[in-house]
């Protein structure tokens, strides 16, 4: 099995999922790449995460606070046999950024993520329609205040600007018309948190509060309802382009941030064209678009071109050390970990979503990222760390400093390290001479050196990239 093939499989699993253990990678790499992609874009082929076990240990997940649910979401990311399903939910959560902070109503936010998970690979029309009926979104962008007699444009505006077409592709009048079409799309008042805990909210359509009048939207006229507006939106090439850019930024390589898209051209215009074509050919079927994306050369050639999001860093490291395979009490610390790195699940800072790429990194968050990974790989009881030790031991004999560096970079990724990083790691390797894997006498110190090497690797700049 070629190195490249393993590296490519690792790349695919990092991007279309959250990483994989070395053993999983080696098994996967024996199969055709296109077959792996088919498995990823058809998550129904695999069983879902066992909900009963989650409920038994973490409680009734419809009723818990956001942080608890986020912890369980991270558990799902680690364990799901449908990694792309979970990754799409996270992708749409980035795009349709809805913050629980405004409502303080976690069951609605939870319901929204579940909807994104369920529909993430469907066609964009279905997704936008359900999004427009989603109580968390309706409240977040004030569509409950959007009345026939007194329209509120917030949802209409963001639907066009941030969820589908992007600025510059529609007029202020189009926004007003879209807003009017969504009048009457609201939710039923749920029972309050006190005294018996949260109750779910539910979409409702108030015909008596809907603006029935004739509307002209993007050049088409009719007595449009919200669904008609979505029908028109999803046919627009601008929408295909906007979604393509989002997909590229999330799955392929770091792009400029959304507000700049009106002026900054795509990093790879041809790649965007390819994705746009896939979208237009299939009426916005996300499964087809993702198949195209993952099978493309531009995707295969984009290794380590994205700064990992905090969630990717945390879950990827958990996969590396191969832990959290059954519910335990640690999982609740992970939402805190991603939060201090700048990503609080269920609570993106604004409707623009998290700024990605190098904007994830500042002194504080870099410190948190490095320490999180360094502390996790220090635990030799973790099966993934153990497995790396076992493999090095199985190599037998002794490793020269440079072999020691290369083997560890390989087993933790494979990671493509710069000359500078390799040289720095080599300094450490050389300070201890050859790594003697034969003598049990030196076992303890050999293990310590391996752990230290792993710590240095996950502390590296390269490890911050996916």
């Amino acid at each position: 099995m070629g190195e490249n093939r393993l590296a490519l499989t690792a790349h695919l699993m990092r991007r279309a999922g959250f990483g994989a253990t070395r053993e999983e990678l080696e098994t996967l790499a024996e199969r055709e790449y296109a077959e792996l992609v088919e498995d990823l874009v058809n998550p129904e082929r695999f069983p879902p995460v066992d909900e009963d076990v989650l409920e038994r240990y973490y409680g009734w997940l419809e009723g818990v606070q956001g942080k608890v649910w986020s912890g369980v979401w991270i558990y799902r990311m680690v364990n799901s046999q449908r990694p792309l399903e979970e990754k799409m939910a996270l992708f749409w959560h980035h795009v349709f950024a809805t913050g629980v902070s405004k409502s303080d109503h976690p069951p609605s936010s939870i319901q929204q993520i579940k909807m994104l998970r369920r529909l993430g690979l469907q066609d964009l029309r279905t997704i936008l329609l359900e999004l427009s009926r989603d109580p968390a979104m309706i409240f977040w962008l004030d569509n409950n205040e959007n009345h026939a007699a007194d329209p509120n444009e917030n949802y209409g505006r963001e639907l066009l600007e941030l969820f589908s077409m992007g600025v510059g592709n529609y007029s202020e009048t189009d926004i007003k018309m879209a807003a009017r079409a969504f009048t009457g799309w609201t939710f039923e008042q749920p029972l309050g948190l006190y005294p018996c805990g949260f109750y779910p909210s539910r979409f409702t359509y108030r015909e008596d509060d809907h603006d029935e009048s004739e509307k002209t939207f993007l050049g088409e006229s009719g007595k449009f309802d919200g669904a008609d507006i979505i029908d028109i939106i999803v046919r627009q090439p601008a929408t295909a382009r906007f979604i393509a850019r989002h997909l590229y930024n999330f799955f392929v390589a770091d792009e400029a941030q959304v507000p700049a898209w009106g002026t900054v051209p795509p990093r790879d215009p041809e790649a965007i064209d390819t994705l746009v074509k896939a979208y237009m050919d299939t009426d916005g079927d996300m499964r087809s678009v993702m198949r195209t994306l993952l099978n493309s050369d531009f995707f295969k050639e984009s290794q380590f071109q994205r700064v990992k999001s905090p969630v990717e860093l945390v879950v990827g490291t958990l996969k590396l050390v191969d832990t959290n395979r059954f519910p335990d009490t640690n999982v609740m610390s992970y939402p805190t970990a991603t939060m201090v790195m700048g990503q609080q699940l269920l609570n993106p800072p604004t409707v623009e979503g998290w700024h990605t790429g190098k904007e994830w990194i500042d002194g504080g968050t870099l410190n948190e990222r490095v320490n999180f990974a360094v502390n996790l790989v220090a635990d030799t009881s973790k099966p993934g760390v153990q497995a790396i030790m076992d493999r090095l031991e199985k190599d037998g004999g002794s490793l020269t400093p440079s072999e020691f560096v290369e083997r560890c970079l390989d087993l933790t990724g494979p990671i493509e390290a710069s000359e500078e990083t390799r040289a720095a790691l080599l300094r450490f390797a050389e300070s201890g001479g050859d790594l003697d894997m034969t003598s049990s006498e030196n076992g303890e110190s050999t293990r310590e050196r391996i752990v230290r090497m792993l710590q240095l690797i996950v502390a590296s700049r390269e490890y911050q990239f996916a």
């Binding site: 009734w60 912890g71 008042q189 948190l193 006190y194 018996c196 805990g197 109750y199």
Partner: protein, 338 residues
């Protein structure tokens, strides 16, 4: 008290609700009845753990324990039971141990160690005492039942992973009757199994589903002195009552009204009153994911209403019959009912 020959079941009316979110009760998983009929309500979620003490009149009598793994703390508590001396035992499926507290909530001790050897525990769930105050424990992830002396000394075990008679899949609730027969809620197998004191299989009832007598993840279970069997059918959001043969009698889905504390709370909050007035209150009466059910010696049934932060209380109403009061059993059903 001997079991009655038969019963005229007059009804099982709802009595009242005690507790409310935040002020007193937070995700109640189990309840035990202590001195002066005080409720010791075990609360568990990832952000807080405690035992809240409430009077039957919903007065807050304080709380004890907290989230953690130290002595006297609880991480993933499952069940609370009391012994004849009025002490309380709480199982913890994260710490693999049983902790003991007195009626005031002072920590008295703990026992249990992690493992799969005889006497070791892996995620202990339900507990019950027999007539000699030996304790049966559902050893969840070892898929077995173990018997211990009150101080934790190992006395015996049975079970193992599987679906056959006497096998378990993540058992949860345990109950013991006056003959020292043992009942186990076999959580993932959606059934209840009955054994004698030595672990010999006697019978089982229930299967997966949501019809009467079927289960969706039965959690806690308990028995009353008439031999009736109460099962918290968690995934179906209900409690089911079975007779001593395991035949379905009736089900409870919840009838909650506002507790005394909840009423006072709502009355002091104009905004919450308005929002409540805008909502339908129908769904508020139902149980949400009850994980336990308990009865006291006065025929009261207590359902810790896990998802709704309260305990709902019911009163059993039966006439106990001598053999002479009721016709002999029939061999077949009959339409001659008039």
């Amino acid at each position: 008290m001997a079991r009655p020959y038969a019963m005229l079941r007059a009804g099982f009316p709802y009595v009242k609700t005690v507790g409310m979110r935040r002020l007193t009760v937070n995700f109640p998983v189990d309840v035990a009845i202590g001195r002066n009929d005080a409720l010791y309500i075990l609360c568990r979620n990832e952000e807080g753990v405690m035992v809240r003490m409430l009077s039957q009149e919903d007065e807050d009598l304080g709380f004890f324990s907290s989230l953690g793994t130290g002595d006297g703390q609880l991480r993933w508590p499952v069940a609370i039971v009391s012994d004849g001396e009025g002490n309380f035992f709480i199982s913890d499926e994260a710490c693999h141990r049983i902790s003991k507290f007195n009626a005031e909530g002072e920590f008295l001790g703990k026992w249990g160690e992690f493992g799969s050897e005889a006497g070791q525990l892996n995620a202990p769930a339900g507990m019950a005492f027999d007539s000699d105050e030996n304790m049966y424990v559902a050893d969840g992830l070892n898929h077995r039942v173990q018997k211990f002396a009150k101080d934790g000394e190992f006395l015996g075990q049975w079970g193992g992973f599987g679906t056959g008679n006497g096998e378990f899949n993540m058992p949860w609730g345990v109950a013991v009757d006056e003959f020292d027969d043992v009942y186990v809620a076999d959580w993932r197998n959606d059934r209840v199994q009955k054994f004698d004191a030595n672990g010999e299989f006697i019978f089982k009832f229930g299967s997966t589903g949501s019809s009467d007598g079927e289960f969706n993840r039965p959690a806690g279970l308990t028995l009353d002195s008439d031999g009736d069997i109460y099962v918290a059918d968690s995934g179906n959001d209900r409690v089911q009552l079975f007779n001593q043969e395991g035949s379905f009698v009736q089900k409870f889905v919840g009838d909650a009204t506002l507790s005394r504390s909840a009423r006072a709370y709502m009355l002091s909050n104009p905004m919450f009153l308005r929002l409540r007035d805008m909502a339908s209150i129908d769904m508020q009466k139902y149980f949400r994911r009850p994980r336990s059910v308990r009865v006291d010696d006065k025929g009261r049934m207590y359902v810790p209403d896990y998802g709704s932060f309260r305990v709902q209380i019911y009163q059993k109403d039966v006439e106990r019959l001598e053999e002479s009061q009721i016709a002999a059993p029939l061999k077949a059903p009959s339409l001659l009912t008039a």
